[in-house]
């Protein structure tokens, strides 16, 4: 069955999405009736305290988990009913992830980690190398190509995770607490990079964060409390 198309063609749209976990006898409502539209090219932050449902909402948008109720569209395609294979294909073609804990592949070098999604996409070697070199230059990662993640600092690993997320040219980057493990200088530098990529390449960014710096830099701030949207503020 082909996925239902979202007529609005937004980067992300959710409609009445719920995610309920069952932990032993207890029911945990991580996301409750969330309806949200993120247009293409937005630089949006999902803010809120721990347990407010930010990460779960990112996972729902990225197709890493399925909603208990409601619908999710990414790049105009309804993901809730997709097969695992279709979800994998969607993530490969449309979505880049930046994880809080970097989650780089330890047996690959920095260059190979950055190239990994493009390798899965079947991008030619020369093209892969050119894209990564350009992003390494922009993120100050030059000269670190052959190092494995274990030999990189936390800031370098997080920048590498950003490069990996954007090098495959996804329409949407979902970043979960991307600055959580960084000092203020590294955080600012990383945000600069992401803002540049958003501006230059039109990549849509959605952050889950409780870092004030990220909230300040975002052009739209969606606050979540107890699994639902508490406020939605767009800045000039």
């Amino acid at each position: 069955m082909s996925p239902i198309t979202d007529e609005n063609n937004a980067a992300v749209r959710t409609a009445g999405v719920w995610k309920i976990f069952h932990q032993e006898a207890e029911e945990v409502r991580a996301v409750q009736d969330v309806s949200l539209t993120v247009e293409r090219g937005e630089f949006t932050a999902l803010a809120g305290p721990s347990g407010s449902g930010k990460t779960t909402l990112l996972n729902l948008i990225g197709g890493l988990t399925r909603p208990t109720r409601g619908q999710v569209w990414v790049a105009g395609r309804e993901v809730s009913e997709m097969s695992n294979r279709e979800l994998a294909q969607l993530r490969l073609e449309q979505v880049g992830f930046v994880f809080q804990a970097y989650n780089l592949l330890p047996v690959l070098t920095a260059l190979e980690n950055a190239e990994f999604p493009m390798l899965l996409q079947g991008v030619a070697a020369a093209e892969r190398r050119a894209r990564v070199q350009e992003l390494f230059a922009r993120t100050g990662m030059e000269g670190l190509e052959d190092r494995r993640p274990g030999k990189l600092s936390g800031g370098q690993q997080q920048r590498l995770a950003v490069v990996r997320a954007v090098a495959s040219r996804p329409a949407l980057v979902l970043a979960d607490e991307p600055t959580a493990n960084l000092d203020s200088h590294s955080s600012e530098a990383l945000l600069d990079v992401m803002a540049e990529l958003n501006w230059d390449l039109g990549v849509t960014f959605v952050f889950a964060t409780h870092d004030a710096r990220v909230m300040e830099r975002s052009r739209r701030l969606v606050r979540m409390v107890d699994g639902h949207i508490d406020s939605d503020e767009t800045r000039a």
């Binding site: 990225g62 890493l64 993530r91 979505v95 592949l105 330890p106 690959l108 190979e112 990994f116 899965l120």
Partner: protein, 419 residues
């Protein structure tokens, strides 16, 4: 062609926990060695059994008158009462590509006496020159020399000498029946003593020149009971026997050309049974190894759940995750195969060329009428080695199937959230 990251990741993962990789590879390698060695040793035992059963006394092919077996009557000579052109038959046999030797034989039964002691005996008339090329039991006599035709000389087995208390130079009286119905008896001198290790044979068989035995039992020189034939390898005998059946021409009476497989079907079945056990050994050894390796692979994939979750999150398909675990297993298999082959094959070559004695463990054994010496002799069995190699790689892959399926079913969001 689309480049794949999986072989690179699979190969490098081997180096992440070297002790575990080494132990896993060792598990497979020991299984491989066990298969090759046990099959090789069995092969060595089977080869020695067949070799001793066919080259020590009997030969790989026997040619008789069609009526001769199983009664072994004195009268059922090749060609019947008319006899046969033995030289022509030997020339035709020698011309076959697989034949390395052939010798005529005459058999008779009777009594052997020395003083008060008497023993039942089988008299075997041979052409000494042809016989030593055909079989091994006269190659190195324990004592004395081969009998010379016309001098009433014979050789006896060591056990018969012991039972009759005779040695080289002593005289024996042979009593038997002549083909003309007369009572045959004569006095012979022991020229030599042989030892095959087959106690019954050594206790009962008296060997003398063929012409002397023909004279003793009153058979014409062209009347023989058997032509024994040796082929280059025992395996060649059945085909050579079929060829000789078509070539040899004895007009008077039909003959039978039978290989050792027909003459000693129990041994042939025993060897076939042994060969079928090779596959059972390979399956059992690798099945045991498979469980250990599956456990290790399961632990290894569990520890890397987060990595698999990342791969899935980045767009890898579950099938690709299965692929990476299987690639890793195959890489371990390849490393294990290379290492174990490097150890096993030189050892097998050494055991083949210089098998150590196992006399400290057990003495000579007679099995299915064949002598088995106590040694760690191995045989080469290239098909079994090949299948053991395939078995090792299949075991590595098979052991990784369940861990791979588990890795592919990892829920990315829960795993990355640490749930």
């Amino acid at each position: 062609m689309k480049e794949s990251p999986w072989p690179r990741i699979g190969w490098r993962n081997l180096g992440r926990n070297r002790k575990r990789t080494a132990l896993t590879a060792l598990g497979l390698g020991v299984g491989y060695f066990a298969c090759v060695f046990v099959v090789g040793w069995s092969e060595g035992i089977m080869s020695e059994l067949v070799e001793n059963a066919t080259s020590l006394v009997t030969g790989q092919i026997e040619i008789h008158d069609a009526e001769y077996r199983p009664d072994r009557s004195l009268y059922d000579t090749i060609g019947g009462r008319e006899g046969a052109d033995v030289e022509a038959l030997l020339r035709a046999i020698d011309a076959d590509e697989a034949v390395v030797a052939a010798a005529p034989r005459v058999y008779a039964g009777g009594l052997v006496s020395s003083g008060e002691a008497t023993s039942a005996g089988m008299f075997l008339g041979v052409d000494p020159e042809r016989e030593v090329a055909l079989t091994r039991f006269l190659d190195s006599l324990v004592e004395g020399a081969l009998p010379v035709a016309g001098r009433y000389e014979l050789v006896i087995g060591e056990e018969m000498g012991r039972q009759l208390s005779v040695g080289v130079g002593d005289e024996l009286v042979l009593v038997g029946s002549g083909a003309d119905g007369s009572m045959a008896n004569d006095l012979y001198t022991v020229a030599g003593i042989y030892r095959t290790g087959l106690v019954e044979f050594d206790a009962s068989t008296v060997v003398m020149p063929i012409g002397d035995l023909q004279e003793f039992v009153v058979l014409d020189p062209d009347r023989i009971h058997e032509i024994a034939v040796a082929t280059a390898e025992p395996d060649l005998a059945p085909e050579a026997a079929r060829r000789l059946s078509g070539v040899l021409d004895v007009p008077a009476r039909p003959i039978v050309v039978a290989s050792w497989v027909e003459l000693n079907p129990v041994l042939a079945e025993y060897v076939a049974l042994g060969e079928s056990f090779y596959w059972i050994i390979i399956v059992i050894v690798f099945a045991v190894a498979a469980f250990g390796i599956a456990n290790t692979m399961l632990m290894a994939t569990f520890e890397r759940r987060r990595e698999f979750a990342v791969m899935l999150a980045l767009g890898s398909t579950p099938r690709a995750v299965v692929g990476i675990v299987l690639t890793e297993a195959l890489a371990i298999g390849a490393v294990s195969l290379a290492g174990s082959a490097a150890f096993t094959f030189p050892l097998m070559v050494w055991l083949y060329n210089a098998p150590p004695s196992l006399e400290w463990l057990y003495g000579n054994v007679t099995l299915q009428g064949a002598l088995l010496t106590p040694s760690l002799r191995v045989g080469y069995n290239v098909p079994a080695w090949t299948w053991a190699s395939v078995g090792l790689l299949v075991t590595a892959l098979f052991s990784a199937l369940y861990p791979a399926a588990r890795a592919a079913r990892i829920p990315p969001a829960d795993t990355l959230s640490g749930l």
